[in-house]
Structures are given as C-alpha cells and as structure tokens.
Symmetry: C2
C-alpha cells in the first residue's frame, strides 16, 4: 500500500485534496487555436461528423494533452449531441453558430424517448478510444450541457444572447417547460452514464446560460435539475467526481454551492475570486476563473491574472482553468507560458 | 415647516429613506413598447436626430410618466452622445445596433477635448424642457454611460457580446487604455453637470457591460472611474442622488458597494435579491431586479416575480425597476398590471 502511486492531481483536487501544484486543463483545449486540430477538422466533413467519428474525436481530444501535458483530457464533443440523439435536427453552420430544430410545448412528449444508440454509441467509442491511448495518470472528463442551457437552444432554434425564448416559455407555461426539463434531465443522466461506462473518470455539466436567470428561476430551472442529475449518476457511481459550471452564477453561486455540497464548482471569468473564497465553505473545490483574454494578451498581463486567481484560491482545492473556453486567436506560446507559470517552472 | 410636503418618494428612497410604497420607474420607459413613442420616432429622422431635438426628446421623455404616472422621468437620450460630442462618428442603423468610429491607442490624445457644445446644449435644452413640463413632484433622472461601457463600443467600433476588444486592449496596453478612460471620466462629469445644471434631479451611470470583467479589472476600469465621477459631481452638488447600475456585477457587487457607500445600487435581473440583501450594509438603497421577461409574460408569473423582489428588499430603501430595459414586445396592459401590483391598488 505504501508504494501505491498518489492519484492524479486532478482527482486529488476534485475530491477535496490539495495537491502540491493545482492541476491544469483548459475549457475547449481541443480546438481551433491548435494547428493540429484545424488539420483534422479540415478533413472531417461537418462538425457533427467529427463528433461522431470515434477515431478523429479521440485524436483531437488527445492533441492538447500531448502538446502541453495538461492534467486532464476532456472529450471532444458538443452539448447539442443530446438533443440530436433525441431525434432533433441539429446543424452547425460555419461562422453562424448552431441551428437546432425549434421545440415548443406540443413537441415535448415525442422527445421523451431513449437516446438514439446509433448516435451516442459512437461518442462512447470515442471515450473508450481516448481512455485506451491516454496515459493512465491523466483523467478523462466526460460532459453534458445542463437542461436549462440545452433548453435555451431548443426554445429559440439557435443560440441567443439573452435566452428570451426559454425565459418567456418558463414564465408563461411553466408546466410544459418543466416537462421539457424532465426529458433533458433523464437524457443527461443517460448520456453521462454512457460516458462513464466507456471510461470517463470525471464528468462536467455545463450550464453555460444559467447566468441571466433571476434567483428563483435559477433555483427551479438550474439548481434542481443539476441536483437530480448528480444524484442519479452518484446512485450508480458513488463518489464520482462532478464539476458543475454554471456560467454567470454571480451572487447565486452560494445557493448552488449549498444545494450541491459535494461537487467542484466551475467559476467564470466574472466571478470575484476573493469574494467567492470568502463565501464558500472551506474545502469546497473550485475550478477556473482566468480570463481567456489574459491568455490572448500573454506577458505580464497573464502573469498578473494568474497570480490573482492562484492567490485567491491558495487556501482551497483549485483546478486551474479558464473562466470560459480558450479563444481561437490564442497564441500557442501563451499557453506554454501559462503552463510554465502554473507549474512554477 | 410642518406643512411642507414630503419629498417625492423616489428622492426619499435614493436618500436612504423608506417611503410607504417603493417608487416605480422602468429603464427604457420612453421607448418602442409605447405606440405614442413609435409615432414620434417615425417622424423624427434618425435616432440621433431625435436625441438632439429638444422638443421631441422632451415629448418622448414625458410620455410614459403621463400614461402610467411613474415616480420618475428619465431623459430620452443615449450613452453614445458623449463619444459623439467628443467628435467621433456615431450612427444608429435600424436593426443592427450602433456603429461608432473605432478608436485605438493613437487616437486617444485627440479625444481629450471639451464636449461639442453645439451637440450637448441641445440635450440640456431637452432636460430644461422636460423639467418645465414635468409635475414638480416627479424627479427627472439624467444619465451617462460609464467609461468602461462606452470604451467597449469605441474599442470595437460597435456593440459586442463579449467586449473582447476593450478587454484585450486593457490587458495588452493598460497605459493607453487608462488614458482613454481618463478622457471618458472627464467627459462624463461634464455631461452629468450639464444635465444637472439644466434641471436633472438625480443622475444614473450605466455600466452596462461591466459584468464580464475579472474582479481586479473591474476594480480598475469600473470602480475607480465611477468613484472619480461621483466625487467630481458631488464636489459641485453635494448630496446629489446618484444611481450606479453596473450590470452583471454579481459577486463583485460588494466591492462596488464598499467603494461607493453613498449611492443607490442598480441591480440586474441575474442578481440574487436575497443574497444581495444579506450582503449589503443595512440602509444602502437598491434599484431594480425584476426580469423584463416576467413583464412580457404578465399574469401570475409577473405577480410572483414582483413578490420575490419586493419581499427580498422589504427591509431597505428600494426603487422598483426592471433589471434591464423594458422589451419592445411588452404589452401595455402588463405595465398597467405592474403599476397596480407595486402600488398595491
């Protein structure tokens, strides 16, 4: 037993431990800022083709770990795989953002069905392929979009700045909206369990559009569904590390933390690290918070921004990450600089 | 003295008092949801023509007060009047949002000049015209955009979802960005003093795009300039009521409140009213927070949303308002319903 190696530092941190250095990975680390990603993307057909090609999805998942030695891989996939596997039309139009078949109250019943195995099995094959090729000491993160965030796309038929369609639906017809959320809770649980069964070590739930909601709506449409999902996956996999990233939670973060005392909380760029550290219970692991623009800027701006985050979270488990996805224009050299700073090299 | 009438309830609340009912006004209350506004807009030429026409600007300012008896008027104008009066090209393209002459480091020196009197005097004439026609017991609110928010337009040349241009400029060349902010601080003070001299009773500073900033950047580019502006106008007008609306402040609100202990804090829709009330010092006046979508929905959704806000803030001075501007699709009947609920009628 004494010779057993320490767990990977990401697993230490998300389980509430304090590894010697914070583990480091970046949201969207498999992405357009990498020339090797762009090369694969160019020969993959559509974006969805890439998501459903187990070999290519595995390859782009592995690229940033190979190049930077990040402390975790995150599956290359998309939060709209779930609605696609529920039978909805989903299209990614270059330069326009995703188009989704629009859903209204009358459509909810037909969405209450199992995920299309022909689609999701290809995602799970990608998970398995990554897990085989990834060093054993590097955890693999699976993910879904949270029900509220996915619902904002379904209600509008596309991405929106203010999520007005979903917000109005929720106000005007809460019963049918609750039915939609129920369908998405069930589908999210199924998709996370599928990824864990295939080899994911940790899961992250992205509630990217939670921020705009008033606190009582946030409680009903974000917190409650998130609690249900976490409970369901922990029922099957007790102790499975879960990261919940409710972007824009702001002053609502404390409610979220109280409802989910045993998850790692993802923090966006706008969250005040000092205030959050003062507010959250001691020992709650956090992830994120570095401004992706600081990484674009590099140099002393990056040094100062990293110091601000690491100093604020020096007293609790902290997974170093951005507060939002890495931007396509980010210079590779700045990612290398970040790795050096965080590793203290 | 005993027979002197009580001050208007808006002034009571922003001075830290607790009137029997919360005063009520709505951000963008002079706007497209009103048929009488659309009628004036249709004959006014461009949007800027309307802003610079004292009679028409005064007329649309007065319309919502006449129709709903709101407890304050807010001048019909725009936050981009300041850069326009600094000599920059500003255009409002229907359905596209504003286009502004893009500014970079080399342009800042030539912006360091007084506001163009030929432009701003027309705004002050509108203020004076409103003040003459408005019932004496109804306060008039003047406003500016905060330096950071105006800078996001100048850095990009247009509105942006993520304000990446300004954020990157601030990281990559903080000295020239600070010079731009200095220019905008001075111009904002001048424009607020001009409005107060013409008859504005209260001023509001809109930092609409403050939310995305990391806490240390928020401190430097939002809080410090806001403190300077408030100090400068209070130097000339001690005790002038000021409302600061830093949209998206979230967990950074406490920093803002500590730096500006004697202003009313505007709260966006996403701010957790219960958490804010717990965090802010007793007696600090707040404004806002109702979701504009609840007003679009009306009915019991609106009743519940109003109750959530008024209950949370029952123990402190509270100016009832939305957390963001009223939406053009808002039914007039729902505004009437809101007035009845807030007035307890």
């Amino acid at each position: 037993m004494a010779n057993e190696p320490a767990p990977p530092i990401l697993l230490q941190a998300v389980r509430g431990g304090r590894p010697p250095k914070p583990p480091l990975w970046l949201m969207r680390q498999a992405g357009r800022y990498l020339p090797e990603y762009r090369a694969v993307r160019a020969r993959a057909g559509t974006f969805l083709d890439l998501c459903y090609d187990p070999d290519l999805a595995a390859e782009v998942t592995l690229q940033p770990v190979r190049r930077f030695g990040f402390d975790a891989a995150i599956l290359f996939s998309d939060i709209l795989i779930v609605p696609h596997a529920l039978g909805l039309d989903v299209r990614f139009v270059e330069g326009e953002g995703p188009q989704v078949e629009r859903v209204s109250a009358g459509d909810v019943a037909r969405l209450d069905r199992p995920l299309d195995a022909a689609k999701v099995e290809r995602v799970y094959e990608a998970v398995a392929a990554v897990r085989t090729k990834l060093p054993r000491e590097t955890p693999l993160i699976g993910f879904v979009g949270a029900p509220w965030t996915v619902a904002t796309y379904l209600a509008a038929g596309h991405g929106t700045a203010d999520h007005a369609d979903a917000r109005l639906w929720a106000f005007a017809d809460p019963d049918s909206f609750a039915a939609l959320i129920d369908v998405l809770v069930e589908a999210s649980v199924a998709h996370l369990l599928g990824q864990v069964a295939a080899g994911a070590d940790v899961v992250q739930i992205f509630d990217s559009w939670a921020g705009e909601l008033p606190a009582d709506q946030f409680a009903r449409w974000c917190i409650t569904p998130l609690v249900r999902i976490v409970a369901a996956i922990r029922h099957t996999h007790p102790g499975l590390p879960v990261i919940v990233f409710a972007r824009g939670a702001g002053s609502k973060l404390q409610r979220l933390a109280e409802a989910l005392p045993d998850v790692t909380l993802g923090l966006d760029t706008a969250e005040d690290a000092v205030a959050v550290d003062r507010t959250l219970a001691k020992g709650v692991p956090v992830q994120g918070n570095l401004d992706p623009l600081a990484l674009v800027a590099g140099g002393s701006a990056l040094e100062q921004a990293v110091a601000h985050v690491t100093t604020a979270f020096a007293g609790r488990p902290h997974v170093f990450n951005l507060g939002h996805g890495i931007r396509p224009e980010t210079p590779i050299a700045h990612v290398e600089q970040l790795v050096r700073i965080v590793r203290g090299g």
